[in-house]
Symmetry: C2
């Protein structure tokens, strides 16, 4: 059984600004791209995404032209990036394995959806963040198309995200894709010592770390030479 929030600790979707889209995407989570064109809806996993611009807020998602979602974005000129939590691990793999041309994946999966705020594509329950986009541009690069989306609405679970991903609850984190059938989630937040507060101690630590790495690199070089590489 998955952990559920304690009684009284309900998660809640909160409306964010368009600028939060880049914070949601910056650590590189997997996304589930939802689309709607006339009566048809579709969903496909996409890990090749990135923020593209702060002002205006633009995000990019790469889709292979053979994918049904490619046509759906072309025709509807909008799409949503749903950021799944680890609860959707198996759904994510399933959505990537069958084509929306052959089956209605959303219907088959029985995954509940809810209405987006600004676009017609459905949004998915079980996710921790949602980015609604209007299509701004489509650029063919190699064998994929980069769809450039203008962010028009952003939401996130308040237990999962507050200016940055919180990573407190194992079930309320974004899922990342590794390749094949492998996925992972971020462990916990690490804080870098802000260089604005740089102190002699900080400088010494940077040097110490650098020295350690130099020593290790030298040892490895010596070993490689011994092996005649």
């Amino acid at each position: 059984m998955r952990a559920r929030p304690a009684v009284g600790v309900r998660t809640m979707r909160v409306h964010l600004t368009e600028h939060d889209a880049r914070r949601l995407l910056v650590p590189g989570p997997l996304t589930l791209v939802t689309t709607r064109w006339r009566a048809a809806e579709n969903v496909m996993p996409a890990a090749w995404t990135t923020p593209l611009s702060a002002i205006p807020p633009l995000v990019g998602v790469c889709v292979h032209p053979s994918r049904h979602t490619h046509d759906m974005i072309r025709f509807s000129e909008e799409f949503a990036l749903n950021i799944p939590s680890p609860r959707l691990l198996n759904h994510a793999a399933y959505f990537g394995s069958v084509s929306g041309r052959e089956v209605d994946k959303l219907d088959l999966s029985k995954l509940p959806t809810f209405r987006a705020r600004r676009i017609d594509a459905p949004l998915l329950e079980g996710c921790v963040g949602w980015i609604e986009c209007g299509l701004e541009d489509a650029i063919r690069l190699g064998d994929h198309t980069l769809f450039v989306g203008r962010v028009v609405a952003v939401q996130a679970e308040d237990t999962a995200y507050n200016e940055v991903w919180l990573l407190d609850d194992p079930e309320e984190r974004p899922l990342h894709y590794l390749g094949g059938t492998w996925y992972a989630a971020l462990e916990r937040r690490l804080e870098a010592r802000p260089p604005a507060q740089a102190t002699p101690e900080y400088a010494r630590e940077l040097e110490e770390r650098a020295r350690e790495m130099e020593e290790r690199a030298a040892e490895e070089r010596a070993e490689r030479e011994e092996r005649g590489e």
Copy 2:
């Protein structure tokens, strides 16, 4: 003190194919972009990256035109994406806080470098993966430039990566950027049940998960209605 590999368990950089670049980038790690133009070298953190194409192997990195690295890539027409481990947490924050126009960040940081295989930009020790690129295209999108890199060489630490990121050793994982001074690393690999092996049990579990989420969504809707939202 950081954990070091046990005696005799040396990490080793291995040469990979150009196609491994997309597996290195797919979970969305932070990268440190290194460049070299004539005698000058520079480094800057970039989290807005994505694979763009499988064949040919293309990757993208977004850089603001005000950044020194923007000129360095324009002039040299090449760059390397170094994927730092958590060992470089403070370095990553430092590299993002000062401009290479004012100081020689690599020299100041004392971070050891080594020669790339196919390009002139230096590669950084303390990283777990390295992607060398020739500049294929530069596309202005909003307030950033998307540099499209043709992958020409790829390396990774064999203890960190073998077809996918292994995530076994806490120090030999890619670092991800969350925003502000916050970073994180992926916890451990999760395997999705491959739909090719779909069984009645698998279908039941998908339904069970969906039912749980539907119940929870219904409870939340009811609570919102009670609160008069």
